[in-house]
């Protein structure tokens, strides 16, 4: 009845209400962070390394064969990483990260291999198999796929002593938390057209394959084009290289560049030079190059090696372009494309590449760095085993002719990985990599400091460079890198931070993508003549820097590829970018690209509707469903160039009622939330758009200094220094980012009632007058906890104190009792060492001398022994850690301004006894 009545009634009110256009997409963000976590890029890249990368490395180096006897061999069948364990008294024990932090261990899991091998001491060389042979320990990233914390809920994490808000993504080496910083680099295997330091136009490619790494540079000097390659003692005319690769006809070369006569005339001086050198054939060119091959010294010594040049051209010149069966054609085409782009740049300097453009950058993450490190160590281990077996064979020491025993006895992997992570030095001679400070101790001064540390990107350039280009804010950073969060001073603009929604890709399988491209109509270049390559009706298709072929209809090709990606048939992070200017379609699936999710809009209408959001809120839909259903996709910086992204859903009229200039039909994507262009630190600022921009930058650096809570497990940690607030509060005004990162659960700071009276008086900048009563009542009270460690050598002893001076706080076991007030000069571990450590026979009291640990504190401070931890370290020595706590209230005349502090730091340095304080303050400043 009711329905009947209401049916004919048209509710005009609802009809005239303006269409509620904006779907609130904010809920997508927590959903996104739920599946991704705040530092997913670290974890993803490490997972990729453990699950795929490590197999590839072993696959590429799987067989070890004795040089003297091919039947004596070892072959790796499989490699896998187990669960984090530790060996205690020959027993394998499961470990948790918290155990490692407290007992100075490395959080690592065993690496196992399955092998097939023969033994030399057996006459018939039977093939033996061995499963689960351990070759070392792999440090495990927290919250990665092999970590015990994976997929645990809050209660389970609490049981393991872990903070649920901790993002993970770091390692624990010898008890210290270490982050491998994200490293910024120029793209590998891509042509970059630029001006070099001498102002010459140059085209360079940094090739990097599993086998070789090289840098190929073409440059133009005095109208002639040369190639520079380290393997040639001096620059080589480009025409000679092309001839050496088998293109003897000049006409073909010019055709490969394109029909435009301007290219021909630009190339003319180079052609002439080639003739003046009297080089007409491939043979002559190769001979000429043989002479130039080798380092400068070798060339001078006239050590000429036949075929050397051919080898260089095949393996090192443009190493990323493969040569199969001696077919140099792909390399020729690649070189021609490089030349053509170089000439374009000469004719029109707009086509020069921008090195600071984020699309030309790759971010190297912990996975890649660990992978390099592992590859190096794995190869070192194999070489060592081979050498060992070879020399044992020649000495006919048959007992030693066993690869497995050598591998097990000598494995640099555990040590090497641990050392690199704890020192941060990546010294890989094999890959010509010598980097320092790759890993850093995770900053635990505050929760935000730790988070901010995880999203930091360390710069590719030296900090000393006085250039402004790389420091400036790049428009292509939009949404990928935080525009506010960068340090002041020398690293300004070079050290950057990821934005909230950025994702960094990992490598993806290339084979399937290539075959998809081919089936979508990409023509292979092998079947085409030089002239046709640059025909004006087609675009080149370039996949990961390799020329795949050409396509007649680039728009259709790109759309088809994108459709496949949205359907999930292609990897979600594959990017398709049509470059009209270069007449190329760039397809990329390589790792290290930054990308971010965006809502797809069809002709300006967002694909996400209210019902989708309702399903999300009801929990029937998750972020990945949005991806799978083609509502959201990831765009990288390059593909963003093909998209028109609107901040909010398109409005036909703007706020003033004027017609919107942007055509709705042109819009292809809509942002999920505009504030995600900011990073974690900048996200804490309320109303950042009302601030002067450097203020936001300052706050990004200062937010990390706020004292408060560090983690839920802060009272059970044994860091060397922790600052905590006694009464931390959550801010009265929160931002969405604050809620997303959990800062409201781990507040830092207190809400203060502030009266501003700025007329006159107390007119010192950055000063406040505080109510003494509020300090009495606990405002700003803080706790510092310092760790004091004592190592008991095997020969040492810790004895029960007699009623002596300075030993009042010791327990019967000779170690300070928790809860005791500890004063200056008090002894907290009553340790004695033998006078002569080697003489352990007589254990009489006389042979021991005191070596007790004395507390050095400030006179008049009441410090308390908070906790005492006993554990055995890796060498089975007893390690005693006393955590000493001091509760402080804000004090009068703490000098807070930076200048003042610097000055006082220097002044204090002069006064005896205060030196320590001064040094510490300066150190503190460096950390900022």
């Amino acid at each position: 009845m009711v329905a009947q009545e209401s049916d004919p009634v048209v509710d005009y009110k609802t009809l005239t209400v303006p269409v509620k256009s904006a779907v609130d997409k904010f809920d997508l963000l927590p959903a996104f962070l739920k599946v991704r976590g705040l530092v997913k890029e670290h974890i993803d890249s490490f997972n990729y390394f453990i699950d795929h990368g490590i197999h590839k490395i072993v696959e590429a180096n799987k067989r070890l064969v004795c040089v003297h006897d091919p039947t004596l061999f070892l072959e790796y069948k499989r490699i896998y990483v187990g669960n984090p364990t530790v060996h205690v008294d020959l027993v394998e024990q499961k470990i948790t990260p918290q155990m490692c932090r407290l007992s100075d261990r490395t959080y690592a899991a065993p690496i196992f291999v399955d092998v097939e091998f023969t033994k030399g001491n057996q006459p018939n060389k039977q093939i033996e198999q061995r499963q689960r042979m351990q070759i070392g320990q792999m440090p495990i990233m927290l919250r990665s796929s092999h970590c015990v914390l994976r997929g645990k809920d809050e209660a389970e994490l609490a049981k393991l002593g872990e903070c649920p808000l901790d993002p993970g993504g770091y390692f624990i080496a010898k008890g210290n938390e270490k982050v491998i910083l994200i490293q910024e680099q120029l793209s590998k295997n891509r042509i970059i057209i630029d001006r070099d330091s001498k102002g010459r136009v140059s085209a360079s490619v940094t090739s990097s394959t599993h086998e070789t790494k090289s840098k190929t540079v073409f440059f133009m000097e005095k109208d002639k084009i040369y190639l520079q390659l380290n393997q040639f003692s001096k620059p080589v005319p480009i025409m000679i290289i092309l001839k050496a690769m088998g293109i003897e006809s000049d006409q073909e070369i010019v055709q490969m560049l394109g029909r435009d006569p301007r290219y021909g005339s630009l190339l003319l001086p180079s052609i002439q030079e080639c003739y003046s050198e009297k080089i007409y054939t491939q043979k002559q060119a190769l001979d000429y190059l043989d002479e130039k091959a080798g380092s400068t010294g070798a060339a001078r010594a006239r050590i000429r090696k036949e075929g050397e040049a051919r080898k260089i051209i095949r393996d090192i010149f443009l190493a990323n372009v493969p040569v199969s069966h001696g077919n140099f054609r792909p390399k020729c085409i690649y070189a021609a494309v490089m030349l053509r782009r170089m000439m374009d740049a000469i004719l029109n300097s707009d086509t020069m590449d921008d090195k600071d453009y984020v699309g030309n950058k790759r971010l190297e993450l912990s996975g890649q760095l660990m992978s390099l490190l592992f590859e190096d160590l794995f190869k070192t281990m194999n070489t060592h085993a081979l050498e060992h077996v070879n020399s044992a064979y020649s000495k006919s020491n048959s007992a030693m002719l066993d690869f497995t025993s050598v591998l097990q006895r000598f494995s640099p992997i555990t040590q090497g990985l641990e050392r690199a992570i704890s020192t941060g030095n990546w010294d890989l001679k094999r890959f010509k990599m010598h980097r320092k400070g790759v890993s850093q101790g995770l900053c635990r001064l505050s929760f935000i400091a730790a988070l901010g540390h995880m999203t930091r990107i360390s710069p590719q350039f030296e900090k000393t460079r006085k250039v402004s280009g790389p420091r400036a804010l790049q428009p292509s950073q939009w949404g990928m890198l935080c525009p506010c969060d960068t340090p002041e001073g020398e690293a300004c603009g070079l050290t950057k931070n990821l934005a909230l929604m950025t994702h960094v890709t990992t490598d993806e399988e290339e084979g399937p993508i290539i075959s998809v491209c081919q089936s979508l109509g990409v023509q292979d270049l092998a079947s085409l003549s030089g002239e046709e390559i640059h025909s004006p009706t087609s675009f080149l298709v370039i996949f990961n820097g390799l020329i795949l072929g050409k396509h007649k209809d680039p728009k259709r090709f790109a759309n088809a590829m994108r459709k496949l990606r949205r359907k999930g048939k292609l990897g979600e992070f594959v990017s398709i970018f049509v470059n009209d200017q270069q007449r190329c379609v760039y397809v990329a699936s390589d790792g290290g690209r930054v990308c971010r999710p965006l809502v797809i809009a069809d002709e300006g209408v967002s694909r996400i509707k209210e019902h989708h959001m309702k399903e999300l809120r009801d929990g029937v839909r998750c972020f990945n469903d949005f991806l799978r259903d083609g509502l959201i996709e990831y765009l990288d910086v390059n593909e963003e160039n093909n998209a028109v992204i609107s901040l909010y859903e398109h409005q036909d009229k703007d706020l003033n009622g004027e017609k919107n200039e942007v055509d709705r039909k042109s819009i292809t994507h809509v942002e999920i939330e505009p504030f995600t262009i900011l990073g974690v630190c900048a996200g804490l600022i309320p109303y950042p758009h009302h601030n002067q921009s450097p203020r936001n930058t300052y706050q990004c650096a200062m937010g990390k200094q706020a004292m408060g809570n560090i983690a839920y497990n802060q009272l059970f940690r044994a860091d060397s220094l922790i600052y905590l607030l006694v009464y931390p509060q959550r801010p009265l005004l929160t931002t969405k980012s604050i809620e997303l990162v959990g800062y409201d659960k781990l507040g830092a700071g207190q809400n203060a009632t502030v009266a501003v009276m700025s007329y006159s008086g107390y007119d010192i900048e950055d000063a406040i007058v505080m109510n003494k009563s509020s300090l009495d009542r606990g405002f700003g009270r803080c706790i510092t906890m310092k760790k004091y460690s004592v190592l008991k050598e095997k020969t040492d002893r810790i004895i029960r104190p007699q009623n002596e001076q300075n030993k009042q706080i010791l327990d019967a076991d000779g170690i300070a009792a928790p809860g005791e007030i500890i004063r200056n000069h008090d002894i907290y571990v009553n340790k004695q060492s033998p006078k002569n450590p080697r003489d352990s026979s007589a254990l009489k009291d006389q042979v021991y001398v005191d070596s007790n640990a004395k507390y050095k504190g400030v006179e008049g401070e009441t410090t308390v022994v908070d906790r005492v931890l006993l554990c055995s370290d890796t060498d089975d020595k007893l390690s005693i850690k006393c955590i000493i706590r001091h509760t402080r209230r804000p004090e009068l005349s703490r000098i807070n301004s930076r200048e003042e502090r610097k000055r006082s730091g220097m002044e204090k340095g002069g006064v005896g006894g205060m030196e320590e304080g001064g040094a510490k303050e300066q150190k503190g400043m460096e950390e900022e």
Binding site: V726, S773, R777, G778, G819, V864, T887
Partner: protein, 368 residues
């Protein structure tokens, strides 16, 4: 009018007096809001003698004019008007109330056990801030060399634990138990200084003292959360309260706060009629103005409740300056005392007066 000028510090600089011409007294008493002289005083009473203004404090005129009117009085809070007094004196009372009227508060805490998340120092600090409902006048000060005895120390005990396997427990302030016989702890062996046996030496039980047995010492509010205990945690401690003043530490301050404000005076400079009147009345958020019917449909605004004025200046915003002037009566203070609980607010004020009296006497005796 000039006789009402309270003396010691009259308001306003000399320029104001000159500018104001004939209206010296009026302006001196109620400067308009926005003038920056407010309570700024001239300390020499003869500063304006040349102008015929004698600012010296005359005892008889003060006695005649000084008035106290109590507006509100409850157990913890009092609001009263102090009329005919100088700002310097009113402020002296305020400061004495906050910092110099003594109370009892926990000063020393002896821990036997504390396994709660709150560590000893912080817990002791929290205990110190708990207001005790004890009349401090019954106790003596405990100076450095004094032995804690029944006349200067109050002892409380807190013994709580949370069962293993049970739910979490909240420790509230009413779990502090008064120990009338003093400390139950033996002196530590390590520290055998003197012949003292325990930490206090009470000659008799405090319960036998009539003032205390009538009104046994307790915490003022029983629902203050001291700490929370997880299963298996326990707190056992003894807390010793002594007499002290807020100057030493805010925990001894007998008031949450004490403050005053000057009585606002809202003056209509012109007659405000009809729409303007209604507009004015509507502007004021605290309803200071009312509309008076003048008959014949004519209305005008009148100031009915200047006391409610918060000086928010809403009425003079946007061209209201020529209609309304906001002033304050310089010798009329609306004084509020919020007691923390040791003594009722009116007693606190008389205590403050006594302390000021004592100070004055000290000065006089020093001088003579």
């Amino acid at each position: 009018m000039s006789r009402r000028v309270p003396g010691v510090g009259v308001v306003g600089g000399a320029e104001d007096f000159l500018d104001a011409g004939g209206g010296v007294e009026d302006d001196a008493l109620s400067p308009t809001v926005g003038d920056e002289q407010e309570t700024e005083g001239v300390s020499y009473s003869g500063a304006y003698a040349a102008m015929g203004v004698d600012n010296s404090l005359q005892l008889d005129s003060f006695c005649k004019n000084f008035k106290v009117v109590v507006n509100k009085l409850s157990e913890d809070e009092m609001e009263f008007d102090m009329i005919g007094i100088d700002a310097a004196l009113a402020n002296a009372f305020r400061r004495i109330l906050i910092a110099e009227v003594p109370t009892m508060a926990i000063e020393k805490v002896f821990f036997l056990d504390n396994t709660s998340v709150i560590n000893d120092e912080v817990l002791a600090h929290r205990l110190g801030l708990i207001p005790l409902a004890v009349d401090p006048r019954l106790f003596d000060d405990l100076s450095e060399n004094d032995v804690p005895n029944e006349r200067n120390t109050l002892v409380f005990k807190l013994e709580v634990s949370c069962e293993k396997g049970g739910p979490r427990r909240t420790v509230k302030s009413d779990q502090l138990k008064w120990l009338p016989n003093g400390s139950e702890l033996p002196m530590e062996l390590r520290n055998p200084s003197g012949n003292q046996k325990g930490y206090t030496s009470f000659s008799c039980s405090q319960a036998s003292l009539p003032e205390l047995s009538k009104n046994p010492p307790r915490v003022k509010h029983g629902d203050i959360i001291i700490s929370k205990l997880g299963p298996g945690q326990a707190i056992e401690l003894e807390a010793h309260a002594v007499k002290g003043i807020g100057k030493t530490h805010a925990k001894w301050s007998p008031v949450s706060t004490a403050w005053y404000r000057m009585l606002p005076e809202v003056v209509l400079l012109k007659e405000v009629r009809n729409e303007d009147a209604e507009g004015l009345a509507a502007k004021c958020p605290t309803k200071v103005f009312d509309i008076e019917d003048m008959g014949k449909g004519e209305k005008r605004a009148v100031v009915v409740n200047p006391r409610a004025c918060t000086l928010c200046r809403e009425c003079i915003r946007g061209g209201g300056e020529d209609l309304v002037e906001l002033r304050r009566v310089k010798d009329h203070f609306i004084f509020t005392i919020e007691s923390a609980g040791a003594l009722p607010p009116e007693v606190l004020f008389t205590e403050a007066v006594k302390i000021l009296e004592g100070k004055c006497e000290r000065v006089i005796s020093e001088l003579s």
